[in-house]
Symmetry: D2
């Protein structure tokens, strides 16, 4: 599991005083990017080499609101990986360590022409190695 | 069903040249707001009167990308309504009338103190009236 | 002068209850795009043909806040045009017709390699024609 | 002077492949917030205590584009302070230490009713102390 902390700014919130439901997607992008970096890969380099990662599906449940100025913690893991897709699972905790949000993203590997493409074998292996000892399932 | 059209601006897109996955949530807010307005209600007035509508759950599937400059069409319907929750279902079509995206939002009614609250009976009735002749299910 | 109306959504606002200062830039993009369209040009087509328009400078003064649910009016004119640059000037009015905001954008024409480039003569002429009878200055 | 580093994500960029001109405002909010925190103050606490800080004026010049995946550096200083207003000045540097952007923000202190208000004397003093030895001018 990968953990990152993040501060909530005014730009994250809306007039109801809490984080806008669409802005969580930015947090999740940051969490995924950092998860992949920690494995020694860079989404930017992968993109330059013809491996583009696109979001295919997103689901998210908002249990409690998050407020301006809070420091949140995003815990990210991989639930499932196939040669074409990584399924991320996230839990977000607020400043009082209460679980506010759970989310799941299906990220697929595509070519620059937007066709489905196998991701690099080395990346798949690194993800497997990281998650193997956990309860995560793999369909490879 | 409610239909609205919308143009895609640079601010909707990202460096892969397509609409950023998190920016669809703004489109869905516009579609919901317009759906409710068409029934003769205003989310702003409801909020002033103590009926705040918060997003509880969101799911979205990205079938095809949407590009800068396209005019999209968002078709919105209500799949289910209870006294506390409206479940919206949306389909997005691109300039060539291809279905690019489907999404579902659970919007709940809460008090200014963020407690679950029954929404106005008149709103529930108006939603039912609009959707009754359709295949939508109701759990009232 | 070109006028467009726009509704304020939750996604435009922040936790102080008003439109976030950075989100006005989206309004200005919409206003510019619509201004250019009204002259018979499309920023998308121009971009495809190698005329990319980039923002070089932005200034904006926030006189009064704008609130959730307001319908604003954005009035756009061109203050100055050279073969390489269009200077837009905007005034934003709120639902009570109070001037809330004034802004100015320098938009330059560049090549796909990001070098300064003369914009199409026909576009310059159309902008001049539109603004000629007004008090706007031209440096051509 | 205060320095912070920040990574550029997809959500910062647009379809021209570079950071969207409006998204810099988020970077500047982060930089200001961090500047104030480093002086021992919190914008959140100040807001709770009735000192709200609103943006009155913004100007920004885009010299060079910033790309996806870059790590930028934002250098922030205070150019001028009065009992009612702080004028921030920023320079942004890209991964190759090239100055890409300069910006200036006028931030004013207001009451919860949105009236101009003197900011806490202690905050003014801390800002002065930090900037005194520099070339910054003060109008107190």
């Amino acid at each position: 599991m990968h953990t990152m902390r993040k501060r909530i700014y005014y730009y994250d919130t809306d007039a109801e005083g809490v984080v806008y439901y669409g802005n969580y997607m930015r947090f999740l992008e940051e969490a995924r990017t950092s998860f992949i970096e920690d494995l020694g890969f860079s989404l930017k380099e992968l993109s330059k080499n013809g491996y583009i990662f696109a979001i295919k599906r997103q689901e998210i449940e908002y249990k409690y609101p998050i407020y301006y100025g809070e420091i949140i913690e995003i815990k990210t893991s991989v639930e499932e990986i196939t040669p074409y897709r990584i399924r991320f699972y996230y839990e977000i905790y607020n400043s009082e360590n209460k679980k506010t949000t759970v989310a799941r993203t299906d990220m697929v590997c595509i070519s620059p022409e937007f066709h489905i493409k196998e991701m690099p074998q080395e990346l798949i292996q690194k993800v497997k190695d990281k998650c193997e000892s956990k309860r995560e399932k793999f369909y490879l």
